[in-house]
C-alpha cells in the first residue's frame, strides 16, 4: 500500500497578524511556524495504519511552500513517515485552493497512491477545499472531517463529525482521500531517537513549476483585520481594580450577580 500525507506549515494561531507588502497575506517575520494542527492528525493516522499493517505501507509526506516548511516535513518524518517531498514555492500564498489541489494531484497522478491523508482544513486559509478537490481530480473516493478511522479488506470505515455531537458512519473503497478532524487520534511527540533516524530519511525537493499547470480560479484582493464592531467595555490594568469594576458592571447590567 502506498500512502501520501499532505501537510501545511502555518503560523501559531495565537499570533498577532500583520499584513505583508503584497497586501494579500500576512507578514511572516516574527511569526512562529508549526505543522497545521489538523495535519498532525493526518500524519498520526497514516503512521498508525503503517504500524498496524506490519510496517508494509510506504508513507510519503508532502508539503508546498518556502524553505521553512522543511521543518514541518522533518517532524512528520520523525513521527514515522518514510520520505518527504518538498514542493518549493515562495509564492504559495498567491495560489488559490484550486491551484494547490491541482499541484498535489499533478504530483500524485502517476505514483499510484492508494490512500491520501490530510487535515480537514488549514488553520490559516481555512478553506477546507484542498483534500476534496485532490480526490475529485484523481477520481478517488473521499470522506471529510474524520473523527474515526478503521481499515480492513480494501475498505475504510470512517466516522464523520457532523453538527451538534452527531456523527455519521460511512464505508469507502480505495483509492481514497480522507481529511482529518481534531480529536481523531492522539498525535505522538517525536522521540529523540526518531528525530535522529529522521535525519537519514529521504527529502526530495521539486520546484513548483514542475507541477503547476493550472491558473487561479480566485485571488485574494485584500487581507485585513475585521472591522471592530466595538461597543464592549475594555478593562485593563490592575487585577483587583478590574475585579471591582467588573463586579460593579455585572450588578448594574446583569440580573445574575446581585
Amino acid at each position: 500500500m502506498k500512502i501520501l500525507v499532505c501537510i501545511k506549515q502555518v503560523p501559531d494561531m495565537e499570533s498577532r497578524f500583520k499584513v505583508n507588502n503584497s497586501g494579500v497575506w500576512y507578514e511572516e517575520t516574527d511569526l512562529a511556524f508549526r505543522m497545521n494542527e489538523y495535519d498532525e492528525y493526518a500524519v498520526e493516522q497514516a503512521v498508525q495504519l503503517k504500524e498496524q499493517s506490519g510496517n508494509a505501507p510506504d508513507v510519503t509526506v508532502l508539503s508546498i511552500g518556502p524553505g521553512r516548511v522543511v521543518e514541518a516535513l522533518k517532524k512528520a518524518l520523525a513521527m514515522g513517515c518514510d520520505r518527504a517531498v518538498h514542493i518549493q514555492d515562495d509564492e504559495y500564498y498567491l495560489k488559490d485552493s484550486w491551484q494547490i489541489a491541482s499541484i498535489i494531484a499533478a504530483y500524485a497522478k502517476d505514483l499510484n497512491f492508494d490512500l491520501i491523508f490530510t487535515g480537514m482544513q488549514s488553520q490559516d486559509r481555512g478553506s477546507a477545499q484542498v483534500g476534496v478537490t485532490v480526490a475529485e481530480l484523481l477520481g478517488f473516493s473521499c470522506a471529510t472531517t474524520l473523527v474515526g478511522f478503521a481499515y480492513g479488506g480494501n475498505v475504510i470505515t470512517a466516522k464523520r463529525e457532523l453538527e451538534g455531537g452527531l456523527k455519521s458512519v460511512i464505508k469507502l473503497r480505495l483509492p481514497a482521500v480522507v481529511t482529518c478532524q481534531l480529536g481523531l487520534n492522539t498525535p505522538r511527540y517525536p522521540t529523540l531517537p526518531n528525530i535522529m533516524k529522521a535525519k537519514k530519511k529521504e527529502m526530495l525537493t521539486h520546484p513548483v513549476a514542475d507541477f503547476l499547470k493550472e491558473g487561479a480560479h480566485s485571488a485574494t484582493e485584500r487581507f485585513y483585520l475585521p472591522a471592530k464592531k466595538g461597543g464592549g467595555i475594555l478593562l485593563e490594568g490592575d487585577v483587583n481594580d478590574m475585579v471591582d469594576r467588573l463586579v460593579e458592571i455585572l450588578k448594574e447590567k446583569n440580573a445574575v450577580v446581585r
Partner: protein, 305 residues
Amino acid sequence: MKALLVSEYREGKLLDASYELLAFADKLGAEKTMVLIGSEAAAPRFNGKVYLADAAKYGEYNPDVHKKIVLEAAQRENSDCVVFLHSSYGWDLAPRVATALKAAQISEVVSIVDGKFEATCCNGKMRRMVSLKTVKTVVTIQAGAFSFSGEPQGTPHLERLDPAEIASCLEFVGYEAAEAKAVDLTRAEVIVSAGRGVGKKDNVQAIAALAKALGGELGASRPVVDAGWVDHSHQVGTTGQTVSPKLYVACGISGAIQHLAGMKKSDFVVAINKDKHAPIGEVADVLVVADVLQFVPALTARLLK
C-alpha cells in the same frame, strides 16, 4: 445573477439554517432557486422553485449522488452561483460541485461588500476580500453570518429530480447519536467556560470554582475538550452545545468561529483574555485584558466575600 441554494436535510428534517441561504441570496441580489435532497413534507417554505430529489431513494447524504443531483439542478437553471452552508455537508460537497463546474469556490463567506465576497481566515482573526476569475462560482457561507429574519413562509413550486441510479464507491452506514448529555448547558443561566488559555488541566479547577461561585455551569471550548481537560458534555460550539445563558464568561478563549456560533446569543458576555485583539472581543460586552489564572481566582474570591 442566478443562485442555486443547496438546502440541508438530516434525519428526516430540513435544517433551519437552510433559510440563511435565502438571506445570502437576497444580499447578493440574486434570483433564487433551491435544491433539496429530502422529502416533500420537509420542503423549504419559500415562494419559488425547489428542485426536489427523494432522500428515501438517494440517501440523506452520499457525496457522489448528491453531487450529481446538485449539478443536474445547476445545469437546468444555468445557475451562476451555487451556494452551500459552510457545514459538514457544505464543505464536503461544495468542492466536488466546484471542480465539476470549473468554478471558483469561496469558503466561509461572512459578508458581501460592494458585490465582492469577504471570507474569514486565520481562525476568525483576519478577513480576505476575494475576486473571482471564473464564469461560475461556488460559495459556502458561514453559519449565522446571514441571518434570516422572521418566520419562513411561502409555497414552493416543486420540480422533481429523479435521475437513474448513480454509482458510488461510498456507502452510508448510519448515524451515531451524540452521547447523552451529562450536563445540559442549554438550560443554564450562567456558564463559565475554559479555553486553551487556561494552560493545563489542573487550572480548569479555578474556572469551575468561578462557575460555582456564580451558581452556573462549567463550559469549555473544543481544544480543551480534545486535550481531555474537560468532558465533551461541557463543550460549547458548533460541534457541542449551542447556549444562550444570561451570563457567559469566556476564560482564555480566543473566539474561534465554531465557539462563537455556540454562544453569541448569550445575554451578556464577559471575556477574560490576555490578548485584547482576540476575536472573542467582538462578541464580548466586557473584555478583561488579564491573565486568566490571576484574574479568575481574584474574581471568585471577591464574589464569595
